[in-house]
């Protein structure tokens, strides 16, 4: 009976996930452009990847973005959550303000931020000018392209913040009281009570954040188009997913794109595994003594 109820998911899993996964592996070993039949070429696509400078470039861009955006977003989200947890008046209002941008359509957000980060007329540079800081060209120079994306991602960290806030609110008050009795200051309370108690939430956010950063597509595509460069000046905005999209849908190289897909899958799995493994060291599930 149970099988009956979950059968839609099982069917869906096979048709939309497992099947495609296997098919993707097979396709990745062919040359296939949809119009003629696939030609089997073994592991040539993977060999080609190693020599493909754009492959390495897209990995670099995506790693650079992940390395900046994930820690920054998580830390800022946590700080905001902590601030909101202080029993301030109108907390729901502030929470709304911080969470709302995360729900808006990425396409529309991208448009807005292209304009905000406009080197000459955008308000961010105007602000930097007013406080005497240099004004980067953002999406128009290679070095500042990814940082531009990172800034944009900070505006959208509402979801992480809400999750952190929930985790914070689940920390038993007695622990803080006990810490105060032991003479702990603010920092010690944070380090020895807050952090361990929210570490499962942090773990969840971290893994999801990594997966998200490596799947980054919509904004990269829209901003690439919007700045007229396709993928940033000198491909500085060539995120991995964008590269895969180009190979699959602009050049109809389905085989190579599938190989790229598998490479991404393996990389993300590896990173997730690392986080999972390391979690034994720092994630604390209630019930152990630290």
């Amino acid at each position: 009976m149970g099988y009956l109820f979950i059968s839609p998911w099982i069917i869906g899993f096979i048709v939309f996930v497992a099947g495609p996964l296997i098919a993707s592996l097979i396709i990745s070993m062919t040359n296939y452009n949809l119009l003629s039949s696939p030609q089997f070429i073994g592991l040539q696509n993977y060999a080609h990847m190693f020599g493909d400078s754009n492959f390495w470039l897209s990995l670099q861009v995506t790693f650079y973005y992940a390395l900046l955006a994930v820690p920054i977003d998580l830390i800022v989200a946590l700080v905001l959550a902590i601030m909101l947890n202080q029993n301030v008046r109108f907390m729901p209002l502030f929470r709304t303000i911080f969470y709302l941008p995360a729900l808006l359509p990425p396409v529309a957000i991208s448009m807005l931020w292209i304009w905000i980060l406009n080197p000459a007329y955008g308000i961010l540079n105007t602000f930097l000018k007013t406080i005497g800081l240099p004004q980067p060209q953002w999406f128009l120079t290679p070095q500042t392209t990814v940082p531009g994306y990172v800034i944009m991602s900070i505006w959208g960290l509402g979801t992480w913040m809400v999750i952190f806030l929930a985790g914070l609110q689940n920390v038993p008050a007695e622990l803080y009281e006990a810490a105060v009795l032991d003479g702990s200051g603010v920092w010690a309370k944070f380090w020895h009570v807050t952090l361990p108690m929210i570490s499962p939430v942090l773990f969840f956010n971290l893994v999801m954040g990594i997966v998200g950063a490596f799947s980054f597509f919509t904004q990269a595509f829209v901003i690439g188009q919007g700045t007229g460069t396709g993928a940033g000046v000198s491909n500085s905005g060539l995120f991995y997913s964008l590269y895969l999209y180009q190979k699959a849908f602009s050049e109809l190289q389905m085989g190579y794109a599938s190989a790229l897909g598998w490479a991404l899958f393996l990389i993300v799995m590896l990173l997730s595994l690392l986080v999972f493994r390391s979690s034994a060291l720092w994630v604390y599930y209630g019930g152990e003594s630290s």
Binding site: M1, G2, Y3, F5, I6, P8, W9, G12, F13, F16, G19, P20, L21, S24, I27, Y32, L34, L80, M83, F94, T96, F98, Y99, L100, P101, L103, L104, P105, P106, V107, A108, M111, L112, I116, A120, Y121, T126, W155, T159, V162, A166, G167, N170, V207, F214, F217, F221, V222, Q225, G228, S241, L244, Y245, A248, M254, A257, S258, L260, G261, L264
Partner: protein
């Protein structure tokens, strides 16, 4: 708090830019409150491309996806929550694991599958998968179902009710808040979806709002006032939904994130 003000600035700027007359866009220092405020910009922007059609398309897709997600996920969640069967836990974990699979790897094979089915340039690839249960939503609803006391089900059994009756007459009505959360998330996801429509929809008459906006930008490249106007309107339904269903969004996240 100053930070929240900073967060709101982009939205102020959005509206400010949207109503600027064209000669006030590229002006330095920036004009924050344009005089006169060209509310007409909205009309101009939205009539230059068939945004009405785009809106209808997006709405149709979003509604169907939401219906599909809510019912199929609840159905599957019931299976995971109320029955014991061999492999249940393994399958559940497998389902959760699919959340960590980057979509890109499924992109090509799914596209080829739809191509062979002749579903390219239709709404089908965007709607059909929603009827097969989505891991995140199943998880959310299942957690909720687990909290429904088994005595209710047992009492119904004794009264001669079958599984379907128990599911539809007891569990579903009791889970309204979880189902609403799923509905809201699902609608939002479908409304905001870009990659799906991008690769599956080729004719302009099928475009969704997100694709339409991208095309609009391509045409009106430096008319930031019109682009901001169009963007603002496209964001609007999400803002409305958010304000109405705020607590469902938050609840939904609570139900998933902390149990993660």
């Amino acid at each position: 708090m100053a930070t929240s003000f900073c967060f709101l600035i982009p939205l102020f700027w959005l509206i400010s830019s949207a109503v600027k007359p064209s000669d006030q866009i590229f002006v330095f220092p920036q004009v924050w409150i344009p005089h006169p405020a060209e509310w007409n910009n909205f009309a101009i922007a939205l009539t230059s491309l068939p945004f009405g059609q785009f809106a209808l398309n997006t709405l149709a897709i979003a509604v169907l996806v939401t219906v599909g997600n809510v019912f199929s996920s609840a159905f599957v969640a019931y299976g995971f929550a109320r029955f014991r069967f061999p492999g249940r836990n393994v399958l559940f974990i497998v389902m959760l694991a699919t959340l960590m699979v980057p979509g890109q790897i499924l992109l090509v094979p799914q596209f080829i599958m739809y191509y062979k089915l002749g579903w390219i340039n239709t709404f089908a690839p965007l709607i059909v998968p929603a009827f097969f249960g989505s891991a995140f939503y199943v998880f959310l609803i299942r957690q909720f179902f687990m909290n429904i006391p088994p005595e209710l089900k047992d009492a119904a059994y004794i009264d001669g009710a079958g599984e379907w009756t128990i599911f539809s007459r007891i569990y579903l009505p009791l889970s309204k808040s979880a189902l609403t959360a799923v509905a809201i998330f699902s609608f939002q996801g479908a409304w905001n979806d870009f990659l799906g429509p991008l690769i599956y929809l080729n004719s302009q008459k099928l475009y969704t709002l997100q694709i339409g906006l991208t095309e609009f930008e391509g045409i009106f490249h430096s008319n930031w006032n019109y682009i901001m106007a169009a963007s603002a309107v496209i964001m609007l339904p999400m803002i409305v939904i958010f304000f109405i269903g705020q607590r469902y969004f938050i609840q939904g996240i609570l139900m998933s994130g902390t149990k993660g």
